[in-house]
Amino acid sequence: MFHIIDRRKNPKGKSLGNRQRFMRRAKAQIKKAVEESIKTRGITDIDNGDQITIPGKTLREPGFHHAGRGGDRNYVLPGNKKFVPGDRIARPQGGDAGAGGSQASPDGDGEDQFQFVLTRDEFLDIFFEDLELPDLLKKSLKQTTAFRTARAGYSSDGSPANLNLVRTMRNSLARRIGLRRPKSSEIRELEEKIARLMQDDETLPGADKQANAEALRVLQAELDEAKRRSRAIAFIDPIDTRYNQFRQIPDPNTQAVMFCLMDVSGSMSEQMKELAKRFFMLLHMFLHRRYEHVDVVFIRHTSRASEVDEETFFYSRETGGTIVSTALEEMKRVLKDRYPTDQWNIYAAQASDGDNYSNDGAKCTALLAEDLLPKCQYYAYIEITDEREAEIFSSAEGETALWKAYAPLAHTRNARFALKRVTKAADIFPVFRELFAKNKSEART
């Protein structure tokens, strides 16, 4: 028997399992390639999937094959134009041109590079692997206010909004069958029968009339009884009702807030701002992807500081002088207003070119050391320097005002405070990883 079968509705993606195994296999390479690619792509498309190229070597599927050249061999080619036997031809250089004899294996031995497209999720998963906020969960939970509602079976009383229809109707049906409550269709049937008999009644001859009246009486009695039962036995009785029950479960989900402080003053060139933004963009995405409940506060400053929304923070321009302490003051204010230390894990990241108003350094140090650091789980300072200046600053004398002010803090409170320099886009990802790598506590010492 011959068949044509329509398989188009069959599930596609039969190769998903294969793809996953391939990703597992290639993980190390993919990760490296992803890190490479992050150096080159713009901020806005970090969030998309990406085409990456991974070296094909570790994905090789070796086998015993003949070498492409060497030895004595002869092979046949099509398309002779002018050759006669005995003609000599220079050996083709490189490649295996004309080696018609050796079937290139389909997976190509010469396949060094291997290209494919990652989905967005795959990309980000790899991108943020092994990163986490340090010391989260540290806060005592005595003040937990968050509750999670969880199902907790069924109960026989509750609010009507939680009525479980399926359970209720199941009970009701059982009870109605058990007590033999007539169905509405049965009552309707009786009524119709009676109506028919009544109609017939007028046309019937005398003898039949009497029989008819008798039948009518019996039916009427049946109907009355059915109606009585139906009234007496409720369709839904209070004993049928079942309610979904919920219980409030205290949620140990920790609350965290990340402060992003960025210098947007005139001394920061566009390029440097771009770098800073890149860093925060990364941070922002990381927090969003990894933690459901992280507040992010954006503060930018020139000689004044203000809290702004995400959009403004990343995309609007502003320029002016530089007083770093204003930003710290602002952070302190927001902390005091909205994020009590006993309920929140507090993190901060600050990006600046290191310039500061000359008298401000001491104030910054004091603010950080006295007010902010004791409250923070972690405070990262990223200094963005021009690539040309980077070499100068690498010497001790070349330290910027802010770096000088902050550096001592890193020694005294090294567990909570870290400073890093970034000079080019390629630095951002390694620095980011360093700041937020798992097991940081060991790495930092």
């Binding site: 068949h3 044509i4 195994r21 070796p62 015993f64 060497g70 030895g71 004595d72 092979y75």
Partner: protein
């Protein structure tokens, strides 16, 4: 052109539906069975989407396949190639099973569906059912069930022993897949009972013939060294007998003899070996198989046209696709990448047809058996059943075809600074060209000749594998080293790869692998 009968067209335009597909199939079947007398498995045509085609691609064309990362690799590569438009998808995939399953893509026009049904459901199908290699090596009735079993079994192993453990074995097995085939059949492995019986008989014979007098005879003065030598030789013979050496089926040898493998690991090797075995005939008959399918579709499509069942437009579309498929670029064309099996196969089938129907004097001299017998299709069917690529070319490649394709032979001696044209398509060259082309399609020449030759049972369990080197052609070094590493993983002890010269029998060089080198790459 003679006027075509005014039959009702099977279809008009490009779109298809299941009714027109069925009607077209029936018309094709009528020609294939009643006119050409092809002998096919029951057909099962399955319509699939391009995505499903990509899926099918990656798992070597089988509808059911176990999971492995290498299939994922193939999938992501094909996916990129397809989406970027570097590569189209095949119009069909056909599976050597009973019933014979052909996948056709929904994107195909009805004309294309007719072409692929004729090509796959009758051409390939007939070949699968009748060629002696397929009859001998593959079990069309059981393959789908076996794949189902393999898939389940491997998934279960992954659950129980973890992805890594399974991947380790499969990687190694895939590397040896080409060498997991019994090229010549083996005597049945003796079972334990038979073995014990033989042992008992031998002891009985010794008892019966025992004569104490022999002991009293003085020992011959023998050189102790030769005695040692003799012992060693004897032990070696014994070992070889015990392991059935030399053994060319490396996977089989490892499955049966590797000391450290778990039984599920042996089963995995067996699965890969069986699948390799299943594909072995296809590798040997690529030219013939495609040639047969192309000849059949060409014949059927032309018959449909002659009978007035398809329109001029449809036949033009067919000719366009057909000529793309059987296009053979010349050697100096940038598109050239070896002989196109479709082109060579189709040209040879058409040529045989011509020789049967309209032979020249030359053909009569070269092919006295078939020239002018006026029975092209029976002649072809006979060839399809009894040959493989190598023997088919050796038997049927005609001087005319060599001239048409302008074939010439290059001698490539590594010692010479130049390549030399050895023969061309002329009277002196025909036989040489033909022999060389046949050798190019001989699997035993194309694939390296490897055998397990010895196992050092009393020492460090070193495994010895010999590569017999023909014409000085070596193995690809880095590939061979990696593969040897995989053998070491399975064997669990050291492995030595010996390159043996075919002519002199001397060992040219040895590559040793000790287990320390087996750390995963």
């Amino acid at each position: 052109m003679s006027k075509r009968p005014d039959n009702k067209l099977l279809f008009d335009g490009a779109d298809w539906d299941f009714n027109s597909l069925k009607a077209t199939y029936d018309a094709i079947e009528d020609i294939a069975i009643n006119e050409m007398h092809l002998d096919v498995y029951t057909n099962q045509i399955e319509v699939i989407t391009s995505e499903q085609m990509l899926d099918a691609y990656s798992s070597i064309g089988m509808p059911l396949m176990y999971h492995h990362w290498s299939f994922g690799k193939r999938f992501v590569r094909d996916d990129v190639m397809y989406r970027k438009g570097y590569q189209g998808l095949a119009y069909e995939i056909v599976i050597n099973s009973n019933p014979c399953i052909s996948y056709v893509m929904e994107e195909n026009t009805i004309g294309m569906q007719a072409l692929v049904m004729a090509h796959a459901a009758f051409g390939h199908n007939h070949f699968f059912k009748n060629n002696y290699l397929f009859k001998q090596w593959t079990d069309a009735d059981g393959i789908l069930d076996y794949l189902q079993f393999a898939k389940r079994y491997i998934a279960k192993c992954e659950d129980r022993f973890g992805f890594d453990a399974v991947e380790r074995i499969l990687d190694a097995a895939h590397a040896l897949m080409d060498h997991g085939v019994n090229r010549y059949s083996h005597p049945e492995k003796p079972n334990l009972a038979a073995e014990l019986e033989r042992e008992r008989e031998r002891a009985k014979y010794e008892d019966e013939t025992y004569n104490d007098l022999w002991r009293t005879l003085p020992q011959a003065e023998e050189d102790t060294e030769t005695q040692d030598e003799q012992h060693r030789r004897l032990r070696r013979e014994q070992r070889r007998a015990q392991f059935g050496l030399p053994e060319e089926n490396l996977l089989y040898f490892l499955e049966k003899n590797a000391p450290g493998l778990q039984s599920w690991e042996r089963e995995l090797l067996r699965i890969v070996r069986n699948i390799g075995q299943y594909f072995y005939p296809q590798k040997q008959t690529k030219v013939m198989n495609e040639g047969c399918a192309c000849y059949v579709h060409y014949h059927i499509m032309n018959r449909l046209y002659d009978k007035g069942q398809i329109s001029e437009g449809a036949i033009m579309e067919f000719i366009d696709s057909h000529s793309k498929v059987v296009f053979q670029p010349e050697f100096d064309d940038p598109r050239y990448s070896g002989f196109n099996p479709y082109a060579l196969g189709f040209a040879m089938m058409q040529d045989i047809h011509r020789i049967c129907v309209d032979p020249t004097d030359e053909d009569k001299k070269w092919f006295p058996d078939i020239a002018g017998n006026n029975a092209p299709i029976p002649t072809l069917c006979d060839a399809w059943a009894q040959y493989r690529d190598e023997s088919f070319i050796l038997q049927f490649l005609s001087p005319k075809l060599m001239r048409d394709m302008k074939m010439f032979m290059i001698n490539d001696h590594a010692s010479a600074p130049h390549l030399e044209v050895g023969a061309i398509h002329d009277d002196n060259g025909y036989r040489n060209v033909r022999r060389a082309l046949a050798r190019m399609h001989d699997l035993s020449v194309r694939e390296p000749d490897l055998q397990v030759v010895d196992v050092d049972l009393r020492g460090n369990r070193q495994l010895y594998i010999a590569h017999t080197q023909h014409d000085g052609i070596r193995l690809d070094k880095s590939e061979a080293e990696l593969t040897l590493g995989y053998i070491g993983q399975l064997w669990g002890y050291g492995v030595t790869l010996q390159a043996v010269d075919n002519d002199s029998g001397e060992i040219l060089h040895e590559t040793h692998y000790t287990p320390d080198d087996f750390a995963p790459v």
